[in-house]
Each structure stands twice: as structure tokens, then as C-alpha cells.
Symmetry: D3
Subunit: 125 residues, 6 copies
């Protein structure tokens, strides 16, 4: 049977690609155990569950991180993730705009700025 | 051409049904203009846009309101809304559970309690 | 010279009247020192400063507590406070509605519900 | 009759001047419709309402954005806005200081840092 | 070797006693898997780590939940938890008061109200 | 008798050392009175109280600021503070990791990044 860690690593790869690896590497010298938990619980347990496909999950995450407004670096990672699992730019922009309703215009504006950064990064690759 | 208000009223009906009417009625004596804005901007402008279907929009809203943790009455309304537009109980429960990753376990627990209340209300109808 | 405590008590009386006394009384058995700090710093130091009048201060407080969405009991106290220092119901309703722009519609709806409660309490006196 | 868009553009000009234009321009390639909504709802609908003057509105916005702590770029824009509509530096500093009471000292310190940045920008013009 | 689940159940028992069991039971019909995650990650992984004793952990949790202001039911559970692992009422009251500095007076007042409820529950047992 | 200001300055020195002085100096030209309040209430009143030692207080503050996610500059100051009063790097890292449970993984990741910055600053001195 695939371990939680291996399943999480596989899911993280599908969603965040190199971004995920960089986060894990960044934790190596300060909290290597936390890198394990990050792979196991969010990706090995939650994202691996069958009831919601990855596109829906990433739309939900982009919505939540935009609304919270306290996690811009993670929002950028998950905008990449949403694109990686097949969401279109239009869908991502749309869900961020919708957050103006629930969390206010500044949250949506900061979310759109994050999307702009990510879209530009991918265009330049 | 359908006005923003009429389009919003139609969308609000699709999503929130009677719940939406009750919110609008509750604003009548204190801020009737606000009921107009509520129908026009969130529902007439945003929810009426074509790039994202209503199921995706309600999943995003349930995610955001669960993560924010400051809008439990509205979360209940939108759990009803998600069911009204065709999301399953499993999908709603799933996206709320996912918020434990991004906003912590208390946010997810309070979201699950809201879902439990809504599911019970509908079972008893 | 008037002490910080006496000046704070006087300001608290102007703004919150009996509401303020009830909060202080509620702290007596659990954290009596905190009641002192509450009178001294917010009211004796900050609210007593001359550069902003009490109407402006209470509008600012109603705006902030509505936007934060984590302090509904205190929002009700300061809606009373805003009325006590001369703000009109229209001004209070207006500033709460404005928060839909900055903190989202749920924050404004919950703020309007608080205002409705307070206005009804005062009508019934 | 003036459209919501035209009225919003006029209000945005009164409050944010060039800052507002820059925000709208920044949305052109990613979410041009959102620039429309931003002009229409916040400025054409809400800020254009008569019950509260623009000085009060900007004090309320500076208070809310300081307390939320998730919208520093927008806080800087609205500190400019508060100055543009006639608030004094002392009033702005005062309302930010007051937020230490309601949202804690870090929120107020970060708000004062934003004010310092804005005041320096205007001094250097 | 003790499984994550068994270790988590043991830790949860030490900290939350019956409160923890009630939360797990409340999840049985809506999200039984989430009860598993709740036992495994927070209690089996994090709380079971050796570098911080349970008193420190519960003081940190009470601080965080008070400051966040979005999780009052969980704050009550962890005030019980803090008492269960040996924190004194004075220590709990003290850390909640301290949050006035970092998250504002309303957060601290709501935290003290939660403490008052918990202390009364235990006195009446 | 030592004044609140002198007692606060002494406490601030114990906890934040030069960091505290820099914050106070930064307020001199924009809000010098606020520097006084910052020394008097948080440090002269709260931190000077006997019921909780400084190690516990700093662990609580690091927990709260990590969970809030809106005060990264202050989080860095208090990670320095925690080290200054005798907390180990392991204890600080541990409490930040714990916040993943209560405020989500992004809050903990941003907290760990702040810790990494602070630990590197001290290593290079």
C-alpha cells in the first residue's frame, strides 16, 4: 500500500510541481518534520480524497486564500496549482473577482495582483 | 434588456430561494437601498457572469466563508445555495474539511457544524 | 489633575453610559485589573485626545468593528455609543453599508443586524 | 442622467486622483470588467450617497483597513484619499492610533507606517 | 508501535477529556473521517511532540484562539484543556488579557467571557 | 515609585532590546505619543504583571501573531524577544508549527519563514 507520504508527494507533484518542492526544500533546515506533515496531511490525506476533483479543490483554495488575505505567497502557489490541474485563467480570475462580494474589494484586488504575477511568470517561461 | 436588478433577483432565486427573500425582507426597515445593492452587485453583476458555473461559484463561496470564520449566518445560506444549484452533501462536506488545511481545524469544525444544521433543516422539511 | 482612570470613567460615561458600567461590572470577578486598563488606556488615553471629536471616533469604531466581524457584542455597544455622542441612525447605517466595499457583504449584513437590534432596544425604552 | 459609471469616475477622481487611475489601468489586461465594477459599486453607488460626507467616509475607511491589516496597499491609497478630501494629517494619525484599542498595537503600528510612507510621498512632490 | 490514532486519542484524553469525545461524537454522522484526522494530525502528530510541554502548548492555543476571535467554541474547549493539563486560572486569565495588546480589547473581552463560562462550568460540577 | 513609563522601558529592554528602541524611534516624527502608549500599556502594564513569566508571554505572543497572519514585522520582533528572554529555537519553531492546527498551514509556513529570517540575523551577528 502506498504510504501517506508517498501519496502526498504524488499529489503535491500533480498540483504544485516545482513550487511544492521548493517549499519543502525551504523547510529542510528549520523544520524538516513540518515538511513531512505538509506532504502527509494536506496532500496525502485531504487532496487525495475522491469526492472532489482537483479542479474544484484548487478553485476552493484560491477562493479561500484570496478571501483570507493573509497568505499571498500561498495564493500564488495555488494559482499555479489551479493552472496545473486544468483550470483556465478565466476561471481563476472569475473566482477571485467573486471574492469582492464576500471579503471586499481590497481582497479581490490583491488576489488579482497575485494572478497577474503568476500569469506573467508562466508567459515568460 | 433585463435590468441588473431583475437579473440579480432571478439569480438570487436560483441560488438562495426563500433564504434570499428573507434577507432582503429583513433589510426593508433599516437599509432598503442595501437590499438593492445586494441583489444588483453580487447577483446581478458577479453571479450572472458566464465563465464559472453556479456549482463552482457556490463551492468557492462555501470555502471562503468557512475559511473566514466571521460569517456563519451567510455560510448557512450558501450551504443551502450550494445544494440548490446541484452540489452534493459529500462535495460540500469535502470542501469544508479541506479548509482545515488553509484556515485551521476550528474553522473547518465550525463549517461542519453549519452544514449539519442545514442538512438537518432540509431533512425535516 | 484628573487621573487617567477618572478621565477614562468620564469619557466612558459620555460614550457608553450604562453599557460601559455593565462591561466593567462583568469583569469584577474574573479580571478586575482588566477593567482598570479598559477605562485607562482606551478611554483615559485615546478617546480623551483632542484631535478627533467623539462623533468621528465612534464612526471609525463602528466601521472597524463591522469590518473585523469578530466583535459583534462590542459593535452593539459602540452603535449605542455612536448614538449617545450624536451620530444619527442614518450615519451609522451608512458607514456599515460602506463596509460591504472593504470587508464584503456578509460583514455589512451582520453589522446592519447589530444596528437593527440596537435601534429596536432604544425604541422600546 | 449621469450613469453609475460616470458618477463613480467623478467620485474616484475626487478621492483618489491619480492613484485611482493607476489601479484601474492595472486591471486593464487581467480583469477589465472588474475595473468597471470597482468604479460603479464602491464609488458610483456607495461613496456617492449623501448621508455621510467624504471626510467621514475616508476616516471610516482608514479605520477599517488599519484594523483589518490585510490591505496595506489599499490603506495607503485611502490615506492619500483622506488627505485629498480634506482630512488633516493629525486626524488620520489619530484614527490609526485609535485602532490599537480595537485591533491591537501591531495593526496600529503598521497603519502608522503606511501613513508615514504617504506623508513622505506628498512632502517630496 | 502505538499508531498515530491511538497516540492522538491518548493526548486528546489528557487535554480535553470528555470535551474531546463530544467533538468526535458530533462528527460521526457528518464527517467521520474528519474525526480521524482531528485525532491524528493535531493530537497524534503535533501535541505529541516532545519539545514543548502541554502547559506551554495550551497557553499558546488559548492565546491564538483569543486573538483570532473566530473560534469561541474551540477557545472554551482549550480553556478546559489548559486547566486539565495544569495551568492555573490566573495564568489563563493573564494570557487572555495580554491579547488586548496584540489583537485589541474586544478580542480580550470575548476571551475573558469564554473563561468566565468555563470557570463557572467547573465550579458547578 | 517607578513610573509606568520607566517600568515599560525596562521591560521593553529585557524583551526586545535594540528592536524596541528602533520601533520607538520610528514613531518619533509621526506619532510620538503613541510611542509612549506602546511603552506604558503593553510593557509597563501587561508584560510587567507577575502571574506569567516572560518566556510564557513570548510563546503566547509568537503563537498569536503567527495565527493572525497580519503582523509579520511584529512577529519577527517577538521571535527575537522570545530568544532574548530564554526560549530556545526549538520551542519557537514548535509553537509556530502548532499554529498549523489552529490557523492553517499557510499561517505556520509564513511564521516559519519569519523564524528563519530571525535565526539567520542572529547567526550573522
Amino acid at each position: 500500500m502506498e504510504s501517506r507520504y508517498d501519496r502526498g508527494l504524488r499529489k503535491l507533484g500533480e498540483i504544485d510541481g516545482e513550487q511544492g518542492e521548493r517549499i519543502v526544500a525551504g523547510l529542510a533546515d528549520i523544520a524538516p518534520d513540518f515538511a513531512h506533515y505538509l506532504i502527509e496531511f494536506p496532500f496525502g490525506d485531504i487532496y487525495a480524497r475522491p469526492s472532489l476533483d482537483l479542479r474544484m479543490r484548487e478553485i476552493a483554495t484560491v477562493a479561500a486564500l484570496t478571501a483570507m488575505g493573509t497568505a499571498l505567497p500561498q495564493l500564488e502557489v495555488h494559482i499555479h496549482g489551479a493552472l496545473n490541474v486544468g483550470c483556465s485563467r478565466a476561471e481563476i480570475t472569475e473566482v477571485i473577482m467573486q471574492m469582492a462580494v464576500f471579503a471586499g474589494f481590497p481582497a479581490a484586488l490583491n488576489g488579482l495582483a497575485a494572478a497577474k504575477t503568476v500569469f506573467a511568470e508562466r508567459a515568460s517561461e
